[in-house]
């Protein structure tokens, strides 16, 4: 790390062990991880993705970036050389390893790594970061726990099964189309250790004995339900495709999906809605209502030809609490190549006009393709709003996924209910007649007429 040396580092209060020599037993990769990586991040869009330890604008040679990409899915098994007289106090429980698939999407995770690697371990060793399992494709996992360069190889642990090692950090940072995605790429631990056992078995006899000492995967004897279904709202988002445009949506009734106008802009247009869980389904529908371009509320309503089965219908919230834990579910980043991603944060602001919430802001990571997806209260599971956009600075072109805007469900619910019950679009048409103060909010302007225009 090229960090400036700061004032002399002082210990965190826990004396570190002196570094111990170790030997490299083998380098290994998980073939399934590499295959899923190639599917998700390769192909035509490969050039859009960057996983380097530096921001896309930083100077990193092509060779260096190529080396980092080649090594991304590789891990190393080391043996620490025993020290003198330390063995007695070096006992400790072996790491418990979660089987692949035991942790559901949306489940809480804790990443533990040392930012900047060996730089200043007194300060940085074993720094913790919390998030959830945002998405998965086989052993390729994504979390929204914030990780930094140097945490590659760090462990990611589950709250349930308690303290189980779920994965190792493969790439702490990634960018798509020069935008920081805010997700950390992980490789599941269980298949990695399976690969290690197989590899050790093919080396010399001494190495074979080591294979038996690798921690086994947790099994039924631990007495924990291994197939936690996860929070029901983690499956609530649907993919909405309208011609060449796609985005997210949420089913508010078995045949009614809410999405954004910029995903499904024209009324009567045919739309394809896909759900991924509990089973993959494709259902055609048509746009029955889309707000006008002049409306600050970027909303469209799709009526489906058939019922969407198996998707839990969300309970709309009636109140919003700034600071409460929230979750966004959407098809951002990967679209239909992967199921919906789950990202978490807090409700950072509730903007009101005349004491009525008209805009919600969150700290969840929201990416292109998440528009129209649901925003939930993590605690109650209630539907808080519909994601409309994240933030872009038009002067610099920078996008900020962790500042995003949602339309409060309280704005939509009466009209949706009326339409559901009577087929009357009158309530939805009212969204085109939002007052000027609401329009000002969604234009990110100050309410005063003489205020400067926002750059955003």
């Amino acid at each position: 790390a090229g960090l400036e040396p700061s004032p002399p580092a002082r210990p965190r209060g826990r004396p570190l062990r002196p570094p111990r020599p170790a030997e490299l037993l083998l380098l290994l990769s998980c073939p399934a991880f590499r295959a899923h990586f190639a599917r998700l991040f390769g192909g035509e869009a490969a050039e859009q993705w960057h996983f380097a330890n530096a921001a896309p604008d930083d100077e990193v040679s092509e060779d260096e970036e190529e080396d980092q990409l080649r090594a991304l899915g590789w891990f190393a098994l080391l043996r620490v050389r025993p020290g003198h007289g330390e063995e007695a106090e070096e006992r400790g429980p072996a790491v418990a390893v979660a089987p692949l698939g035991a942790v559901p999407k949306g489940a809480p995770l804790m990443a533990c790594g040392s930012p900047f690697g060996a730089f200043c371990p007194d300060i940085f060793l074993n720094t913790l970061s919390r998030g959830v399992l945002s998405n998965s494709a086989g052993p390729l996992l994504l979390t929204d726990a914030r990780c930094l360069p140097g945490t590659e190889g760090g462990g990611v642990f589950a709250a349930r099964p308690a303290g189980a090692l779920v994965a190792l950090v493969a790439a702490p940072l990634c960018w798509k189309a020069r935008e920081w995605v805010g997700l950390t790429l992980l490789c599941a631990a269980a298949p990695l250790l399976r690969a290690a056992r197989a590899a050790l078995g093919r080396l010399h006899p001494g190495a074979t004995a080591l294979a038996a000492l690798l921690p086994p995967e947790m099994g039924a004897p631990w007495g924990l339900p291994l197939r936690d279904p996860g929070p029901p709202w983690a499956t609530a988002a649907v993919l909405v495709e309208c011609s060449t445009v796609w985005g997210s949506g949420v089913a508010v009734a078995p045949r009614l999906v809410v999405t954004c106008r910029h995903v499904a802009p024209r009324e009567a247009t045919r739309v394809l809605v896909r759900s991924t869980t509990p089973k993959s389904a494709m259902i055609w529908g048509h746009v029955v209502f889309a707000t006008q371009e002049t409306s600050p509320y970027d909303i469209a309503v799709v009526s489906l030809d058939e019922d969407l089965d198996g998707i839990p219908m969300p309970v709309p919230a009636e109140h919003f609490h700034e600071g409460e834990a929230v979750t966004v579910v959407g098809f951002g980043v990967f679209g239909q190549t992967c199921g919906p991603s789950v990202t978490t944060g807090i409700l950072s602001a509730v903007v009101q006009v005349d004491d009525t919430p008209v805009m919600l802001q969150t700290t969840c990571a929201v990416h292109g393709g998440s528009s129209g997806g649901p925003l939930f209260s993590t605690g109650s599971g209630e539907l808080l709003g519909i994601v409309a956009s994240n933030t872009r600075d038009n002067n610099t072109g920078a996008t900020y996924p962790h500042l995003n805007f949602s339309i409060p469900i309280t704005v939509l619910q009466p009209a949706l209910q009326k339409y559901s019950q009577t087929g009357d679009l009158g309530g939805l048409r009212e969204l085109d007649r939002a007052t000027e103060p609401v329009r000002v909010v969604w234009r990110l302007q100050r309410p005063l007429a003489e205020a400067l225009r926002s750059k955003l």
Binding site: S6, A9, R10, P11, R12, R14, L16, R17, R20, P21, A22, E23, L24, L26, L27, L28, P31, Q68, R70, A71, W74, F75, L78, V80, E89, E90, R91, G92, V95, P108, M110, C112, G117, A118, F119, I123, L125, N126, R130, G150, T151, G153, G154, G155, F157, A158, A159, A162, G163, L165, L168, V169, L193, A195, A196, A198, L210, L213, L214, P215
Partner: protein, 110 residues
């Protein structure tokens, strides 16, 4: 931090480590480092990221993308590779117990 995180925090604290790779006799050439997980303590087995070994591969980084290569033995790296692993006190160690509850944290000025 909520109660649900207690086991995860303990597991992370016990298993987390940092791994450094450098060339024997060439400390001035710098070192490469990453995080790791202690899988077992006797014998000490550690899993870490493979990226820090790229500069030491005899056949260069291309060895990592060779067709079908799922693993490379330790001697794929040059003889001058030296490794250090560092970790904090474990909950099981006397040092770890002695330090529990001590308020020695600091926040260096930016």
């Amino acid at each position: 931090m909520g109660r649900q995180w207690g086991p995860a925090m303990r597991a992370a604290e016990q298993a987390g480590c940092v791994v450094s790779a450098f060339r024997a006799g060439q400390p001035e050439a710098g070192s490469w480092s990453c995080s790791g997980v202690i899988l077992s303590r006797r014998p000490g087995l550690v899993l870490c990221h493979g990226g820090i070994f790229t500069p030491f591969l005899r056949a260069g980084s291309g060895a990592l993308t060779a067709a079908g290569a799922a693993f490379l033995p330790g001697d794929s790296c040059g003889d001058d590779l030296r490794l250090h692993v560092q970790w904090g006190p474990t909950a099981a160690s006397p040092a770890g117990r002695a330090e529990r509850g001590r308020t020695g944290l600091c926040t260096p000025h930016c």
